[in-house]
Subunit: 196 residues, 2 copies
DNA sequence: CTCATTCTGTAGCGATCACTATTGATTGAC
DNA sequence: GTCAATCAATAGTGATCGCTACAGAATGAG
């Protein structure tokens, strides 16, 4: 029942074509990416695209899910650092470098595309969890509004994405990241560990 | 030579129609605003629109210039406050309230529209001037990278605009503004005035 | 009044949008 | 081989894009 495969095999690699679609949506956004430009960039004719990916919306969902998964990997890696400040600093630094990386579109698809608010919320939730741990560890002052702080960090990264799209350089993005880091509240000035 | 005006007078108020165009471009962006939606919202037929405003691009330029002028008024008013910190705090507070104001589209047209990078640079330059004055006044530490700091503030406001478009509340925007204010460097801890 | 001028609305221009009917090519099953 | 199944390419669907030709309506100048 399962192995009744037959017929002409597809002439293109689906994952490669999807990666091209990610790059298109990333660079131009959902609305400004047309089926014609997608098929041209992917090297696939419209009927093949529709057979392989459904319609434009489903292709975008698949592409954005792939982009989201990669983004979460990076965020999780940064958040795994032992100190809360170091984790945030790493996340901001990685963000700056990713937004200005040559060979990829400037900015961040997740932070730019209006349709991906749910994914932005998910990233924010991840940051909140890490900040909460930072409060428990004494890296951040008790009573810190971690939700507000995470929202601020997402806003800064979104601003970094926009600045990258405006042609901002890596140095400028790193400067924004450094300024944002200064907004993190410090724990009690004379105690580095919560043992006191 | 000059007063040879004749012919049928236009049936709509040009400034009112332009205000409607501002609202449309503000809410939906340049690309997502069609001539059809503009004419419907403005209560004007396409030929009248083209006769009064040229083409879509020139209408957008006129609308964005009007929006830009109003924005600059607000920024200038905040920047005129005596203390640099107060000036920045006012700007961030005004921004939060403007981005969440009921009756107007969420977010900021200047900070959202990719085509308006030059206007964003102009706002940043205004902030740099104010921060430079803050350094001279002793409100900010000597040697402060005012350009980097202004760039950070613009990035935060852009993030606030995006968050407002995602449905963020005024309280959330004010929280982002408060966090950003904490990133401002403080002058020498024991001197409030540069006379010492 | 007449007449030139300017605006108005209808109607439609070519181009592009997302999407697909159709035909022919290429495969494995038998 | 024969056949069913699957994909590829051409071509074109109706809808919408920005924009405009055209003809009629409304004005001031003479």
């Amino acid at each position: 029942m399962l192995g009744h495969m037959a017929g002409r095999p597809r002439s293109f690699d689906r994952d490669t074509a999807l990666a091209v679609a990610v790059e298109q949506f990333w660079r131009h956004g959902y609305d400004e990416t047309s089926i014609a430009s997608l098929t041209a960039a992917m090297g696939v004719t419209p009927p093949s695209l529709y057979a392989a990916f459904g319609d434009k919306h489903r292709l975008f969902e698949e592409a954005s899910a792939l982009y989201f998964a990669r983004t979460c990997e990076g965020v999780d890696r940064a958040m795994a650092l032992p100190g809360a400040r170091d984790a945030v600093a790493r996340m901001l630094d990685d963000t700056a470098r990713a937004h200005a990386a040559p060979g990829t579109p400037p900015g961040c698809m997740l932070l730019t595309e209006p349709r991906l608010a749910a994914q932005r919320d998910a990233v924010q939730a991840t940051i909140v969890e890490r900040l909460d741990r930072g409060v428990r560890d004494g890296d951040l002052p008790p009573g810190t509004d971690t939700t507000a702080l995470a929202r601020f960090l997402v806003a800064v990264m979104r601003g970094m994405s926009g600045h990258a799209r405006d042609g901002g350089t890596l140095d400028e993005l790193l400067g924004i990241a450094a300024s944002a880091l200064a907004a993190l509240p410090s724990p009690a000035p004379s105690a580095q560990h919560p043992s006191a």
